[in-house]
């Protein structure tokens, strides 16, 4: 019996990818003064697409990292897929020490990412709360 539907899976994936994005942004902020540093970026939409196309493989449960998925490919989690898609971005025009991090845009991006993470977490929690209420039968 399938209790947890595809939407919940999408929300879980979104949470994973948002976390990877947060780490990328935090890394850029931490290196805001590093000479010659080029900021990394992650294309969120592409990462979500890649993670969901691998979803077929996720249907088969694996109990050890060495197990193979549906098409014989190794099963990777959404965070692994997103991490593999982190690229070195162009950044803004580099300053005199070669550092190309735009601190303001990065901080705004971090605020947005945090809000989106909160939204996905709230949606997942609410869905589970509805399910829990239905299961409890309202007493």
């Amino acid at each position: 019996m399938k209790i947890f539907d595809a939407t919940l899976k999408t929300l879980e994936r979104a949470l994973d990818v948002r976390l990877v994005e947060q780490n990328v942004l935090a890394g850029n902020v931490a290196n805001a003064d590093t000479p010659g540093y080029k900021p990394k970026e992650l294309d969120f939409t592409a990462a979500m697409k890649a993670a969901s196309s691998d979803a077929g493989a996720e249907m088969m449960t694996t109990t050890s990292p060495g197990h193979l998925g549906l098409n014989g490919a190794a099963v990777s989690s959404a965070s692994d897929i997103a991490t593999s898609m982190v690229l070195e971005g162009r950044g803004t025009a580099p300053s005199f020490d070669g550092n190309a991090v735009d601190l303001d845009r990065t901080m705004a991006g971090m605020a947005e990412n945090g809000l989106q993470y909160g939204a996905s977490a709230k949606a997942a929690g609410k869905k589970l709360a509805i399910l829990r209420y239905a299961v409890d039968g309202g007493g």
Binding site: T10, L11, A14, A119, A123, I130, G137
Partner: protein
Amino acid sequence: MSIESIQNLSTPIKGIDGLESGAAERARPAAGGVSFAETLGQAIESVDKIQLEADGQAAKVANGGGNLHEMSLALEKADVAMRLAVKVRNKLLDAYNEIMKMGV
């Protein structure tokens, strides 16, 4: 014991059949009305539609687009609809149990 007396016993049973069919006829709605079964079916369908709408909004936000307050409203509506449905189901069950307790 003669077979006729057994056949006499079966007539009350036939009577119960008639009662059931009569009840089914009475349960059919008045001309132009909606039966209880249909109403219940529609209610469950609309609760399901609200849940699917909430799912759609949540999926849109998860994929990066969508509208945060629309999603919140859809989720809250789904929550309220589910609570209402569960309350109605409980009341229906209570009513059914009451009727069953009554005895014939």
